[in-house]
Symmetry: C2
Subunit: 400 residues, 2 copies
């Protein structure tokens, strides 16, 4: 269903152009949650984190998750900007709080863009009024557009389902598409839900969901200073028997957003899905899968439509998870290339042709790489994208 983060009952959002970015694209977004909303957040594990991330986590703690609004600016990460960075976050959220009639600590702020440059705060403050005036029950897409930086397309989703006779909706939006190797959360991701759950349940659920979605993607192996994922629950409390259904819904939304970030990775031509099976623990499969999706050599091989599976095995071998080569089987798409540790005699040209249909297609398709690395019962997925010359061009000239 359409709507993104404003699809669930009671949420409003908006996005405007405040002139913060030279490109004159939308750069300021606002999410307003219902009065009874509960918010939980996961943030970058980097030693160097932006002051706005500190503001988010402090205010979530202070209000026990009872925050109402999130202001998001794109173009400036507001990281490594010293005391000024903190001051700007406080001033900006204060302006939003005053005009919405909220307490300062009920407003969070997320920033994304270049590290080390201050936000043009005067322009931002001038943008707050039009931003609030355009808050709308159908503003989800505008907000999703305003949080982008090098992304090619906005990333949003909303789903609905009946739990008993109650229609529940979950919405989400996110942005990529460089410095993406999330540790606890993606660069920026937001989720809304129109039923309430007990705080501890919601928090634990979101942690698991983020782990299997945003924490399973990699665009370039670089974790950002600003990674944040914030998830609102609001509305009637839902019966415990539906918790599993809710978590499934959250997983669908978060996985969709995570995959769209990987698919839209800078310079990419396809989404790569890595499926690793046969470990004793889920975490082991996840570590191996993510090591493969992060490998420059795997990513360039996919870009070149080159079935150089040795690089996939080499990457798996470097994940630090023990396995026996004799237990390894490997597929690229429908082609089985290795069976119990031994290469199979497969026509390289056919596999390459198959890869070309995915990588060189007009629309971005998904290349599936599947490994069995043992006899254990657990498995995990990871997503990444190919590494192209375009990635180099984009990143060789981002600030100057």
């Amino acid at each position: 269903m359409p709507g993104g983060i404003t699809a669930p009952d009671g949420y409003k959002a908006s996005g405007v152009c405040a002139g913060l970015k030279p490109s004159q694209k939308p750069d300021l977004a606002l999410i307003l949650a219902p009065q009874d909303a509960l918010c939980t957040g996961t943030f970058t594990q980097s030693t160097v984190r932006a002051k706005c991330v500190d503001v988010c986590s402090e205010r979530l703690a202070k209000t026990a998750g009872r925050v109402r609004a999130i202001l998001v600016n794109s173009g400036h990460a507001n990281a490594c900007t010293g005391d000024r960075g903190l001051r700007d976050s406080v001033i900006a959220t204060k302006a939003v709080a005053e005009q919405l009639g909220l307490l300062e600590e009920e407003v969070l702020m997320c920033s994304t863009g270049v590290i080390g440059e201050a936000i043009p705060i005067q322009k931002l403050l001038e943008g707050v009024k039009p931003l609030i005036n355009s808050l709308d029950r159908e503003g989800g897409l505008e907000a999703a557009r305003a949080i982008l930086t090098t992304d090619l397309s906005p990333k949003y989703i909303s789903i609905e389902s009946f739990l008993g006779d109650k229609c529940v909706r979950i919405g989400g939006m996110a942005k990529g598409s460089g410095m993406i190797h999330p540790s606890m959360a993606t660069m920026l991701g937001f989720l809304t839900c129109d039923v309430s759950l007990p705080k501890d349940v919601w928090k634990a659920m979101i942690k698991r969901v983020v782990n299997s979605s945003f924490n399973s993607i990699s665009v370039d192996g670089d974790t950002s200073t600003n990674d944040s994922f914030l998830a609102f629950a609001a509305g009637e409390y839902v019966d415990q028997k539906y918790f599993e259904d809710i978590e499934n819904g959250l997983t669908i939304v978060a996985t969709h957003l995570a995959k769209s970030i990987a698919r839209d990775g800078e310079g990419s031509n396809c989404l790569i899905e890595i499926k690793v099976e046969g470990t004793e623990k889920i975490a082991e499969a996840q570590i191996v899968a993510r090591k493969i999706s992060s490998s420059s050599l795997v990513k360039t091989a996919v870009h070149g439509c080159d079935p150089n599976w040795g690089r996939i095995i080499a990457a798996a071998g470097n994940a630090g998870i023990p396995f026996r080569l004799e237990d390894v089987s490997l597929w690229i798409g429908k082609y089985k290339l290795m069976d119990n540790g031994l290469p199979l005699d497969v026509d390289r040209q056919s596999v390459s042709q198959y890869m070309k249909e995915i990588v060189k297609g007009k629309e971005k398709k998904t290349l599936i790489i599947h490994l069995i690395i043992g006899k254990g019962k657990e498995k995990a997925l990871s997503w990444g994208c190919d590494l192209s010359s375009e990635y180099v061009h984009i990143n060789a000239d981002y600030t100057t």
Copy 2:
């Protein structure tokens, strides 16, 4: 001084073209050490390691380091080739041993090239005789040429110094230049020395030397299945008072080779040297330095001559080593860009121009990135290279 691995007394080497590679470049090398030589080795920590690596470590254990010769083939890594891979290594070393009058276990074998393809063993065996016939006291350069794959230039060095009245020489050679993020050793590196040291001393010394040299470089963050470093000591026993001098010499040779691998990284235009200071432990500085030298975003920024220092700080923040941003100062070359956590007002164009002189020069120069991240007394260096479109081209089409 000239000579590479054959500069020290008593070593012979050779390199020939056995027709293993389609390019018809030299692809088979041999090192013959003196009768009393002691060899120590460090190998890839990958879960998936080539059978030839197993052969090396088993034979070193069996002979207590008393091996005499190393056969090296380039073009085929002989990894993931199952029982055939092991058989081929055994057959090849047996042929060398017979023709040299050595025991089988006195011959080691290293392989580098494409993973998963068998060595054309018949051609290799036909190459053994000419290879042995051309063994020479001045064969160091021929051997250094025959071990290359995507390297643009051979990598070798030799130094000499008088310890008391005894002239001691150390030689070395290595090859890169993709799948380079060594864990214990580089893809392939060899060192020769014409004095003897007690076995335990030699082993511990080589471990330390490899750690500060080969284990401190990264080209693409991918650790190979075949990484091996083998170091020979032979000749008169040297007095204990010279151990430190010997270790300094070994460090010079290993660091030179490691840096030449990074400098010749696939598609690179410059060497990047990362210097991190101010930690409590050397290992902490090393982890941070290597995280920076491995970052795709730092590497593309350098390629674009873009003083986007935020990416350097972000990479440092993701190394998992705690530090306070307020303690961080950062320089690119002579330009100080951050002081105690605060960005300095430096003209970006000047820094970019300075980077251009290094990155766009005809000869490959070195860009130095220097960070102080605390008040501790330890420091470490790491080396990498810029990430260019050329890297993508090289790696998108390596096997097909």
